[in-house]
């Protein structure tokens, strides 16, 4: 037997083992490459693509049993229920009772934030270093998330989609959204907000085809404290998948839009 420490035989004996280790390492690297998230040339995660949630959030953010107009769901809210102020809860109950006619989505209104994200229609993200452009199939709404370091404007309007300013915290896109109007709901169950709505979104890849979308929502006119929602967004990978025109003015939109304080 040649002693192991004898230089000449040492590499020869180890060659097959080195080969096995090397191929294992290579295989691991290939697997890792598969799980690598897409990135822009500046290294930031690239969310470009067509996305959609499979959650029941749009039917009702809170846990609910099955209804004629909604499948059952365990809800999408941390802590399960929205922390309504007493007066606002009464309004929410009124909204729920009249949801078949008063849901702004049925009137063709822009869905707002975050409803547009988990509404059961796809939306497409186009992303550049300085901004992300979100095109929603529903109503063809277009939302810009600025990532160029700018702040909210000093003389804002009451936008349907608010004003979105994003920044990166590691691989998470954090977006501050405010300056909304009070004409949108969170879901078709009458959960609502005022024009003091403030949303902070967090977008992060779970894997190259899955985004975890979280939002913290505050509105001191309606809620007693901020609350959080979380939904998963899946990348559409069907062959030739694309957004289809879904312009709401082709429906009975003119009966409801523009919004009026009292319908004639």
């Amino acid at each position: 037997m040649t002693p192991l420490h004898e230089g000449r035989n040492y590499p020869k004996n180890l060659l097959p083992i080195v080969g096995i280790v090397m191929s294992c390492l290579l295989a691991t690297q290939v697997l890792a490459a598969d799980k690598k998230i897409p990135r822009l040339s500046n290294g930031k995660p690239d969310f470009s693509g067509i996305w959609q949630s499979t959650s029941a959030a749009d039917y009702d953010l809170e846990p609910h049993s099955n209804r004629k107009d909604a499948p059952p769901s365990a809800g999408s809210v941390e802590g399960e229920f929205l922390p309504y102020l007493p007066k606002a809860l009464t309004q929410r109950q009124k909204n729920f009772a009249t949801r078949a006619t008063d849901d702004p989505a049925l009137k063709g209104y822009t869905l707002g934030v975050p409803r547009g994200i988990y509404y059961p229609e796809p939306f497409q993200i186009f992303q550049r270093k300085q901004d992300l452009l979100l095109v929603h199939q529903f109503g063809h709404s277009v939302r810009t998330i600025n990532t160029n370091g700018t702040d909210h404007p000093k003389d804002p309007y009451d936008w349907w989609l608010g004003d979105s300013r994003g920044h990166w915290e590691g691989d998470t896109l954090v977006v501050d959204v405010k300056h909304f109007n009070d004409k949108t709901w969170f879901d078709r169950a009458g959960n609502y907000h005022s024009d003091a709505l403030h949303v902070v979104e967090k977008w992060a890849f779970l894997d190259p085809n899955t985004i975890e979308y979280k939002a913290t929502i505050e509105d001191p006119n309606v809620f007693s404290r901020p609350w959080n929602i979380s939904v998963i967004l899946y990348r559409h990978r069907e062959k030739n998948f694309q957004l289809i025109e879904d312009y709401r003015f082709t429906l009975d939109y003119d009966d409801n839009y523009p919004p009026k304080p009292n319908k004639p």
């Binding site: 003389d155 804002p156 309007y157 936008w159 003119d254 839009y257 523009p258 009026k260 304080p261």
Partner: protein, 139 residues
């Protein structure tokens, strides 16, 4: 050649028509408001909504019997107002405002603002509808 061009130009025409139709529908004065019913009101601002396609200004108006009624007036598009110097800061909640305009056809407490006079005396034309009467009410 002509055969190829004709469908294209027809499509373009259709496109223009389709694009124009909803714009008109959004801003039709006559659908909602009555040019025969001018109104002039003085009140205090309760809310200004700078919303597209056009804004709304709400004010509390003191009635003859001492009670207060809330009125809503349709304004121009936010960008149009901005060009005229009207922002959120111009009409804060609680500020005085005088409005000349036209009442809604349904007789409820809302109307279409033509001339808005701010608390500082500044007077601006605020209506946004293409088919709205531009003249001062009562003239």
């Amino acid at each position: 050649m002509n055969r190829k061009i004709r469908p294209a130009s027809t499509l373009a025409m259709l496109g223009i028509l389709c694009a124009a139709a909803p714009v008109h529908a959004h801003h039709a004065f006559s659908a909602e408001f009555d040019a025969e019913k001018p109104v002039e009101l003085k009140g205090t601002v309760t809310k200004l909504e700078l919303v597209n396609p056009h804004s709304w200004l709400y004010l509390d108006v003191k009635q003859q019997d001492g009670s207060v009624a809330n009125w809503g007036f349709e304004f121009g598009a936010p960008f149009n107002l901005k060009q005229k110097g009207i922002t959120k800061a111009s009409l804060p909640v609680g500020s005085d405002v005088n409005i000349q305009g036209y009442r809604a056809k349904n007789g409820k407490n809302f109307g279409y603002a033509v001339t808005t006079t701010l608390g500082d005396g500044r007077s601006v034309k605020t209506g946004g509808a293409q088919d709205a009467p531009g003249a001062t009410p009562g003239q």
